[in-house]
Amino acid sequence: MRTETRRLVEAVIERGLFLCAATSVLVTAGIIGVLLFEALLFFQDVSVLDFFTDTEWTPLFAQKRFGILPLLTGTLLVSAIAMVVALPAGLLSAIYLSEYAPSGLRRVVKPLLEVLAGVPTVVYGYFALLFVTPLLQDIVPGLAGYNALSPGIVMGIMILPLVSSLSEDALHAVPNGLREGAYALGATRMQAALRVVVPAAFSGISASFILASSRAIGETMIVAIASGLEPRLTLDPRVPIETMTAFIVQVAQGDAATGTVEYRTIFAVGMLLFLITFLLNMASDWLRRRFREQYA
């Protein structure tokens, strides 16, 4: 091939590859565009004030009320339960795997934890509804067949590997000099881990916590199956509730016609969901960057 043609081919290929990479920006633009377009139409019918202050969410009933609060509290309740399970357990196993575990055990445990993270969420939903809920009903008095507790716990188990592996990465990045210094001052392994290594990795660990909560808020199928699809403004984990994600699935399953307010609600709810998870992801990313700079 002549040099001229060669050069042309190279330039064309580079352009093509750039276009591939640029599609990811288009995807983001597409998400924001679609959500914004339908959500703006939604807010022509429903006032923003009602949306955020009304305490009833009944868009599928004859008497329509559009208060997001029940969905929001439902989402936060389930996510909080998941965090109560995943954060301490994840951090503890991260400390163990990073500071104590013999490398043989770590090689066995880490892939097994990854399996836990790879199980499809619809399977976890099945597990929550048909195994964990009946089990909990023997222990927790007044627990309904659909509730926030059981999906919350199962979601915590699902998210644990994420917290554990990201926190372990953060602990791992703490230079050994800090551990040696602590030992030189007479610290035990636990004192070095809890008082020196964990505080040193604090921003990395909090980044993993925030990412985990974002994942919990966006999780859909576990709650769609096991939490009951009944929007309710409550913090009682024993009764049926509905999350933002489960509502989107519920409406999409039905046959809300395009252009109706019911149809547009899912985009308004999706917009809010996107905003919340986006902010959390950004915060997590910022913390992780700061952490990396500390020990770079």
Partner: protein, 289 residues
């Protein structure tokens, strides 16, 4: 290697012991719940697995229902997702890793991909509904569903491909340039083959995650009651996880058995994919060594 603390008096070791015992307890509990989940599903569903279950469509009578349309729907959608996500994802990764460098665009794209990886899957469903189903008028077809999953898998494909490209030593590129090869010749003939095991593993893992997705395809409008396998890109479809969800949502016990049997099929599909990934990686690495 971690530094070791000097030997401490026995009395001061109780904290270490306690922490280790608690951590092992947590890990044991997590793995036990995984084992319980698998046992529960197998116990409920194994009896329902049969040739009839694999070859039938949905039915209002649980013992006549089967997974056939869902299984083939999943395979179709996965093929479409792969056809879109693989060239786009690998192309993006090559651009960012080999060409992009440090420009402002590259930086923007990078941040953007990191963000996309954190967008909840149900939101991708809304994108698919608004963009593919409505705006592009594809309807709730295999093509719309596959394209939605492709976008969902894209960030994972890009991130894993970049990681694989990074494992190819710089010296290989330099040697290629020294022989007069252009950038693309170097990338195509040296770097990509060198990174292939890692790239393929990442692709299969990204696709296996996409196959397990339920929510985005429900939002895109995949049907739950469909008696035939898709016969083209414009065909309506259902997928395994949606069929499972549909059965779980029914109150009658026999349908729960169907759901469990469906889960076994889904997990076997994922297991096959992951095993393929491992075999492919080992084969290619051995050939290279």
């Amino acid at each position: 290697m971690r530094p070791r603390p000097p030997t401490t008096p026995r009395l001061r070791q109780w904290g270490d012991r306690l922490l280790q015992v608690m951590a092992l307890l947590v890990l044991a509990l997590a793995l036990a719940s995984l084992a319980t989940l698998l046992y529960d599903v197998l116990a409920d569903g194994l009896g329902r697995l049969s040739w009839q279950f694999m070859t039938s469509g949905p039915s209002s009578r649980a013992e006549r229902a089967g997974i056939y349309p869902g299984l083939f729907g999943s395979l179709w959608v996965m093929a479409v997702a792969a056809a879109i996500a693989v060239p786009l994802g690998v192309g993006s990764a090559v651009y960012l890793e080999e060409y992009g460098g440090t420009g402002r665009w590259a930086h923007l794209i990078e941040i953007n991909i990191a963000n996309l990886a954190g967008v909840p899957s149900v939101v991708y469903g809304l994108l698919g509904l608004g963009l593919f189903v409505r705006a592009l008028q594809l309807g709730s077809s295999v093509l719309a569903g596959g394209a939605t999953l492709a976008l969902l898998a894209l960030p994972v494909v890009i991130l894993s491909t970049r990681e694989a490209l990074r494992t190819v030593p710089l010296s290989i590129r330099e040697a290629s340039y020294a022989l007069g090869a252009t950038k693309w010749q170097t990338t195509w003939h040296q770097v990509l083959p060198g990174a292939l095991p890692g790239v393929l593993t990442g692709l299969i893992l990204a696709l296996s995650r996409a196959v397990g997705e339920t929510a985005p395809l429900i939002v895109v409008g995949a049907l739950t009651y469909i008696t035939f396998a898709p016969d083209g890109l414009d065909s309506p479809f259902t997928v395994l996880p949606i069929q499972i969800y549909n059965w779980v949502s029914r109150p009658e016990a026999p349908f729960a058995e169907n759901a469990a049997a469906g889960i076994i099929v889904l997990l076997l599909l994922l297991l096959t994919m992951n095993a393929t990934a491992i075999v492919v990686r080992d084969r290619l690495q051995k050939r290279r060594a």
